[in-house]
Amino acid sequence: MSDVAIGHGQPFVRKEILQPEPPPASLVGFSGWARQNLFVGPANTLLSLFCLALATYVAWIMLDFLVLRAVWTGANREACIGPEVGACWPFITTRFGQMLYGFYPAEEHWRPATVFFVAVALIAPLLTPSAPYKKANALLFFVAFPIFAFVMLSGGFFGLRPVETRAWGGLLVTLVVATTGIVASLPLGVLLALGRRSKLPVVRFFAIAFIEFWRGVPLITVLFFATYMLPLFLPSGWSIDGLLRALVGVSLFSAAYMAEVVRGGLQAIPKGQYEGAMAMGLRYWPMMILIVLPQALKLVIPGIVNTFIGLFKDTTLVAIISIFDFLGIIRSAFADPNWATPGTVYTGFAFAGIVYFIFCYGMSRYSRFVEERLDVGHKH
């Protein structure tokens, strides 16, 4: 603009619009981002560096142990001995069948495998919001599938060889306990929640007493109760299977937690819905089944999934009554002298941790996805 004529009696007029200046270098790109988010003042910088060092250290240790120094093949502990050896993966691969199915006879492994696949085939569309035939699908999963799974797993029908539940183990037991818990506890929990909100004092009293009792005691004592006390309460001569006892305990326990989740949903339904249903002449049960519960249950899907995550993690406790779930099988494998190496324990924990994390993290992502989806237009 040096050629602007001053003194010609003409005021200053800008001929063209100036291009905006680029932002200062300290604000753009990675360095700018880092300056604003990582290095604000000395204390903040120190904190960032400390966290960075911590994260790098942990990541490096895991990578180094699990991948770089790991042993991938071998027949016994000889392969995994040495000062420079990391994770001992053959320990996992040789026992993989056991970790999946426990001591289920090897030639019958196709049965639990079929049940796994059918379960996945039924659950996947059930959890996909856009998939059609939700009602038929739910009916199949909650009514037909348990019967199918029971027949397939325990055998004794249609020429299938009976397999005692004592032989079941590993991930199979973990999934059986978790799935039974959720399938049995959902209807029971709905009933309890309705009972707790009932206006009939006796029904309400029993519902509250039941819920608060089971929520007040640890699952481990419930398992002890189911194993040692329950048989005493049954007519003499009746004996129930060890796994079934645990399933009864787990179902009652999770029903109490489920009831509280469902109650939250019931409370979130505006009174107008009840009044509207009554104005249409619906009695209690039609009102609940047709109007209130469908809305309430939809609202609490994230809560139900969270209860299920808790239940899935709690299945590890069945090991206290000598049922070998996934973690229990891995723990018992540590005692195997064929694989006793310094790295065995860490390998086992790493594998168990990865498997549990994948299951639980997957479920919690799903619950968050549903939550976000329901958040649209469903705010009361």
Partner: protein, 400 residues
Amino acid sequence: MAITHEGPAPAARPPSTSSIWNDARFRGNVAQVVVVVVVALALGAMVWNAQENLSNQRIASGFGFLDQTAGFGLNQTLIPYSESSSYGRALLVAILNTLLVAVVGIVFATILGFLVGVGRLSKNWMVRKVCTVYVEVTRNLPLLFHILFWYLAVLAAMPAARNSYSIFGEVFLNNRGVYIPRIVFGEGSLVGFVALGIAIVGAIALNRWSTARREKTGQQFPVFWTSVAMLVALPLIGFALVGFPLTIETPVLRGFNFVGGSRLLPEFAALVVALSIYTGGFIAEIVRAGIKAVSHGQSEAAASLGLKPSLSTRLVVIPQAMRVMIPPLTSQYLNLTKNSSLAAFIGYPELVQVFAGTTLNQTGQAIEIIAITMGCYLVISLVTSLFMNWYNRRVALIER
């Protein structure tokens, strides 16, 4: 059943010609009677069966066994206990051990949870990410996994006593546990404790007085620093008067083991670490949600009143966040207490391990023992939730 009750009282209705089954109140009463009968029948059958089974299997019943000699030792006792003590005494020891783990775990879990929860809201990206990873990893692994990991993979892998890890030569870590220094109070220490008691009472009184004065006149009084000075100085003077009868006993390696100091069982250490880390992840989420629930306008208003960030956090944000946080925090504390029962897996002598484990095996009285065990947890849960409800009412928002 429930809703159909609403409406005018039946007495006010005109006499109805329709069946009595259409009367909602009548149907409600029938339903209640049916429930009572079913529950009573079920309970009766259970009691009947239990008596039958007990007499068939020749199992004694009643609580008389609590006075019998236990005959087993316990490796951590907060009150005097020996093998010749009774089962009742063993129960008491076990309850105290459970409470010890629960209290220590709650303290550490709360500290960890608050740090991580605040860290997840930090403006620093690195801190935020590290805290997020911590929360996701701890919450998505079973608690038993945490406990076994710390017990079998970390503490069991500690070196033998001779090669212990030492922290400043005072604290020693080895595969037999954690050895920490112990303060031994000699004769005359009572004076010091009395002084400490006076200091605590004085601090509370000072706080009340200064609050009353502030509300009346608006004058501030440096309560915090005065209290700290009092709490430090008075016991010091008290102990100085009797010539400092305190000795700090440091653990010393003698032969193959340490002598002196206090020893924490590896089971105890693993349990406390695992419970704190696991529950800390859940508390972090509660803290984060609580702080996010306080609207941004509150901290802006505090800033416009001239409060500096630290004061606005302490006086404006945290008190309001606490209201949101207390109910879920209570259930986490209860969960931690109940989860301490997982100690049975690693053999820490708490309620389930000692009572539902050893005592049940020795006496075989399943009904009484499991009822007592469940009852203890129920009482602990009830007392904790009563206390937290009381605290909740104190801090709850008083609406117009």
